[in-house]
């Protein structure tokens, strides 16, 4: 990175550290923080959409649709989520490959499960065996996003379902009295009004989502946990210009601090958002704002 880093063995103290912390591998480490933030930025809206869909389905007046919605909400109950993370990654991957297999190789006659192997034809492999490295990485990352979205979508669906029921009945009746149809009431009154009731639950879910991001490591993505283990391990002079002892403890301390900062920032931002949303609402929060004004 810097010009004086050409021969690290002659350096010491802070200059050594400045060179050490800017090696190519450390850039991968910093880049992984971007991956985590990207995951958060993509997963949050996607799982909110999943949750919205689930909640709307659970509210449906058509019985089978409502069953599907309710089953989706309650399927995550009582089972450790880490199980879902380990399960969905393989399951989603196999389902995709199975579908592609059925479409692309209809003439294939051998069974797909042969003993303990899962075999699909070459053309159905995901990603294709000959595709470049970045396709593999993007595919792995998308599977991770989908897994997070399914699991957190169920939590969000539960919260939104409760929030929809918390909207005062009188407001919906007023809308109906104005002659709005069922769909119009849902779109114009229920959805805009439910957020204030959903926000406490959703902010809690956001905190949980932040704390779930290290599980990316289990999904095989090269995330911060992977790099912290990789970079922190003992390095001998034979293999690197920057030998050091076992520093994994310090790397994980850094991750701990990173997550604490992320939590603190989220707390402050969500607090402000809540203040804005409660403005003018018929809740104790809105009432106290009205009194103060």
């Amino acid at each position: 990175m810097f010009a004086y880093c050409a021969d690290p063995s002659t350096l010491d103290g802070l200059t050594w550290l400045s060179c050490y912390l800017t090696t190519g591998k450390h850039m991968g480490f910093y880049y992984a923080f971007g991956t985590v933030l990207l995951l958060l930025a993509i997963t949050a809206p996607v799982s909110l959409a999943f949750g919205f869909g689930g909640a709307a389905m659970a509210r449906s007046r058509i019985l089978p649709v409502s069953w599907i919605g309710k089953a989706y909400i309650s399927v995550v109950r009582g089972v450790p989520d880490i199980v879902f993370f380990l399960f969905f990654v393989i399951a989603i991957d196999q389902i995709f490959e199975l579908i592609r297999h059925k479409i692309k190789c209809p003439e294939w006659t051998e069974p797909i499960r042969q003993g303990s192997d899962f075999i699909v034809c070459q053309a159905a492999k995901l990603p294709l065996g000959n595709s470049p490295q970045w396709v593999h990485e993007v595919y792995g990352f998308s599977i991770a996003v989908l897994t997070f979205a399914i699991v957190f979508g169920a939590f969000a669906a539960n919260i939104l379902f409760g929030a929809m029921r918390a909207v005062p009945r009188a407001q919906l009746e007023t809308a109906e009295a104005y002659g709005m149809s069922h769909r119009q009431v849902f779109r114009r009154v229920l959805v805009p009004q439910m957020w204030v009731y959903a926000l406490p639950g959703l902010s809690n879910l956001w905190m949980v989502l932040i704390k779930a991001t290290p599980l990316l490591f289990l999904l095989g993505v090269e995330d911060i946990v992977y790099w912290a283990r990789e970079l922190g391990g003992t390095k001998t002079p034979q293999f690197t210009a920057y030998p050091h002892g076992d520093w994994r403890m310090w790397y994980f301390l850094f991750l701990l601090v990173f997550y604490l900062c992320l939590t603190k920032v989220s707390e402050v931002v969500l607090e402000r958002l809540m203040l804005r949303l409660t403005h003018g609402q018929a809740t104790t929060g809105g009432e106290s704002q009205r009194r103060a004004a």
Partner: protein, 269 residues
């Protein structure tokens, strides 16, 4: 059937290191999967019970500390809760493991802490203490004013007042949330062997074995549902035990004023 009894004999205590040394490698039967994953549950129950029992005491202390008027008691308690609730348990496990590893190199007496039975139990103990302390702190703040005034009127002060009035009321108010915390804790125990702590001689927890089977058979549709089934049974047991205690705590109240256990979907930490 007889074959299955043999398998149970071989693998029922495998997670503790007794019985057959080698794990099954080919021709996996359902019986093997049920037995080994069930055997791993011993560890999940162990971690959960140890952390819950020890964490309860520290949680009470931290909750009282957080409600204290003295800055020097309140601040450390607040920081303790923030650090353990604000960061992922997964990272805490990793940090704890590598911290113990470094300490072991300096002082060999720290050796036992690098193995899961002590080190992971310690991390879980601190973690659940922080989460429970927050629950207890919330309950402390919502103790009815009348209860405390009544205690004052009887001339109770200091420790007797806490032990006879405040503490039981706090527990009664906190119990439904504390039940949820207990369920989360048991589910969090599945992280132990995926976060640095090594499973020596393949002595792991339920998820470790489920993952082993899923890896070997490329079929996640059998071992993980088995694991899920075991956890649902465990959750029902916890609800049973905590429900009984809840009944004890509320037995002096009229039926309709008793707090009911409400279960919310679980979350990761």
């Amino acid at each position: 059937m007889m074959e299955c009894l043999d398998t149970i004999g071989d693998y029922a205590l495998r997670s503790l290191g007794y019985g057959e040394r080698l794990l099954p490698r080919t021709d996996f039967t359902l019986c093997q999967q049920f037995t080994l994953i069930g055997s791993g549950m011993i560890w999940n129950v162990y971690f959960g019970v140890v952390a819950l029992l020890t964490g309860f005491a520290l949680a009470t202390a931290v909750a009282v500390g957080k409600a204290s008027r003295h800055l020097w008691i309140r601040k450390p308690a607040e920081w303790f809760v923030f650090i353990f609730r604000g960061s992922p348990l997964f990272i805490q496990f990793f940090f704890g493991y590598f911290l113990f590893l470094s300490l072991k190199q300096a002082y060999p007496a720290w050796g036992p802490f690098t193995s899961a039975w002590l080190g992971a139990a310690l991390v879980l103990f601190l973690n659940t203490s922080a989460y429970s302390a927050e629950i207890f702190y919330g309950a402390l703040r919502s103790i009815p004013k009348g209860d405390v005034e009544a205690a004052d009127a009887y001339g109770l002060t200091g420790l007797p007042r806490f032990r006879r009035v405040i503490w039981p009321t706090m527990l009664r108010l906190a119990w439904p949330s504390y039940t949820n915390e207990a369920i989360f804790l048991f589910q969090a125990t599945t992280l132990v062997f995926f976060s640095g702590f090594p499973a020596t001689q393949q002595k792991g927890d339920a998820l470790y074995y489920a993952n082993y089977f899923a890896d070997k058979t490329f079929n996640p549709f059998i071992p993980y549902p088995i694991l899920a089934g075991y956890f649902i049974i465990l959750t029902l047991c916890i609800i049973g035990v905590f429900g009984w205690i809840n009944g004890r705590l509320n037995r002096h109240l009229p039926q309709d004023r008793r707090a009911r256990l409400k279960l919310r979907p679980q979350v990761i930490r």
